[in-house]
Symmetry: C2
Subunit: 363 residues, 2 copies
């Protein structure tokens, strides 16, 4: 079992990583006998994990209710979040309840925001079931739902009480979703840890084969890197923005193509190549390093070109709605080396457009 602490003063919390956690009564700390909880999951995961998790909780003396939401990014909305409130109020659950987010990033983000908002804040536990949510969205307290005009535009900074990562969940994950998670894994190497990037080049095949030891190390290292960044900058005033490498471009792809058509990690993968090309055009990143990024992404089964149906000019309106925009000016996360990145304002739109064009699929 791997255990990390996210250090945030009185809001510090543990991340536990192991195979078979759903069978351990201690996993769902800090829930204890006599307390109530609301399990939030989706209709894809419910048949797989709802019964074992419920059973574990109930055998510990916890009273569990449940709400099952439709699966998919297109359902990460205020209207779907309202169903969680309805479920809570029908029983009714009080301010002393605990929400359990059992699912991927959509369930985690939506449930986290519901926990932040229900009665102005109740406790919640993240139980991420996808690689993407295990290494990224379940750690750090960013919660949100989407708006038709922008992804993650409505939300809160709200920390979970604990994060429970059972790597056995990955065996039921479709290959495309595993790859989507690997995009965020590779991102950590690029922005924060060149040595980890090299480790990924050496161990990608083991990860694709779901080798338990490699996967546990990989998830722990990503959570460690993210926990360090979040501890230093919880509300994204500075360094935390680096975690958005590829996301400004990627969010444009997701918004333009319709949420759910391109997976988040797929859009981020193409976006990271665009960021690398932008940095290259500014003379701050080497073409050789871009090639190493492209090669690793491709080995992971990820796209390295933008969607064919999307022109470079289609990106900008979406990019200008990015939360990093200040006084109408784009601020981009750009790589400087493998293991180092920066936030850059004042990049000419022409440079951005040219870099996006560099990443169009050759005819």
């Amino acid at each position: 079992m791997e255990k990390i602490t996210v250090t945030l003063g009185e809001r510090s919390y543990p991340i536990t990583i192991a195979a078979g956690l759903f069978n351990d009564p201690a996993s769902f700390w800090p829930l204890k006998a006599g307390e109530r909880a609301m399990l939030v999951t989706n209709d894809t995961l419910a048949p797989l994990y709802l019964q074992p998790v419920r059973q574990q909780l109930e055998s510990t003396g916890i009273e569990v209710d449940q709400v099952i939401l439709p699966d998919g990014e297109q359902h990460k909305t205020l209207a779907v979040m309202d169903r969680v409130f309805t479920a809570l109020l029908e029983k009714p659950h009080g301010r002393d309840t605990t929400l359990i987010a059992l699912g991927g990033g959509v369930i985690g983000d939506l449930t986290g925001f519901a926990a932040a908002s229900y009665q102005r804040g109740v406790r919640f536990i993240q139980v991420p079931t996808t690689l993407l949510s295990q290494v990224d969205s379940s750690v750090g307290g960013k919660t949100a739902v989407n708006h038709p005009l922008g992804k993650n535009m409505i939300g809160a900074f709200y920390q979970p009480a604990s994060v429970v990562i059972d790597i056995n969940c990955l065996s039921s994950l479709p290959a495309r979703e595993l790859a989507s998670g690997l995009a965020e894994v590779i991102k950590y190497g690029i922005i924060l840890d060149g040595e980890f990037f090299c480790w990924l080049e050496a161990n990608l095949d083991a990860l694709l084969a779901l080798d338990g030891k490699a996967m546990a190390y990989c998830i722990r290292r990503c959570c460690e890197l993210k926990a360090e960044v979040v501890a230093a900058d919880e509300r994204e005033m500075g360094q935390r923005a680096l975690l958005n490498l590829g996301h400004t471009y990627g969010h444009a792809i997701e918004a333009h193509m319709g949420y759910g058509n391109w997976l988040h990690g797929e859009a981020v993968a193409a976006g990271m190549v665009m960021a690398a090309r932008t940095a290259e055009r500014l003379g701050e990143f080497s073409a050789g390093d871009t090639d190493r990024i492209i090669s690793l992404l491709q080995r992971a089964g990820l796209p390295v070109h933008g969607p064919e149906s999307m022109a470079a000019t289609d990106y900008l309106p979406h990019m200008l709605r990015d939360k990093k925009v200040l006084a109408g000016e784009l601020r981009l996360v750009l790589p400087l080396a493998l293991g180092q990145a920066c936030v850059r304002g004042g990049v000419a739109h022409d440079t951005v457009l040219a870099a996006i064009n560099d990443c169009q699929k050759p005819a």
Copy 2:
């Protein structure tokens, strides 16, 4: 001009109270030239105040957009809040925008929660236009929208950057709404300040006549009392709950009768009498003091009986959804004397029902 500070460390903020603030360019601090703002108001207030406020802001060099919502408690919903997000994203406004809540409690609560949630938190300024919001909801950072199953069930603790109270607004306020605000004013006297209760007994006629000096003192005293409570207990772990005197019963009336049919202050007025009767039945409050409360409420034009169409048993299901409920048990705010109150758990439901019956209108 009266000025108070709500002391909350780095989240401290000023409350400014005066007649004619909308004509003073310094009023909308901390907004400054070159910044952007989104004015949120309703269709009743827009014809009265939108132009003067816009003009003042624009003459200071602030770029102002606006969104006008339908008036009424029944519109304090997630769906109506979403219109604020749409207005912000259409322009689009960035994380550096400021929301201005120009209106009563509904606009203030909804806009505050929108500010807490838009891009995970942007700045906002409260410009309360009703007595109720001036003395209560605009101070203290409780923001929320309603759910069909419970009032204020979805929200955040989120502090404004400043509160701007122009008492000239009260001259356009319908008499019923002025009375509704006086219910919360009287509440402060009951729970925190017996001397202020006596001042109200002596000065109620001046307040009803909108005497400027009396009104400015009254609003300042209420804001001071609330600011002290909030500074000591921002997230309502203890003392802050006292501000809910009458609200647990009152919320039941509002929910049962349909939001907007009984004004909030009207429901709280009847609820305070019910709380006093409950305390009387527990031997903790004198019938003479209940009579003084009833007399003052009646002079203010407020109801002191529950709705005729509502049986005592209709209250409990709503009361059990109150945010103070812990482990399924009601916790009630009860007066102990004029100027002193407490939070009490474990009151028998029969006692609560009997006290509600004490307040039924005589046939």
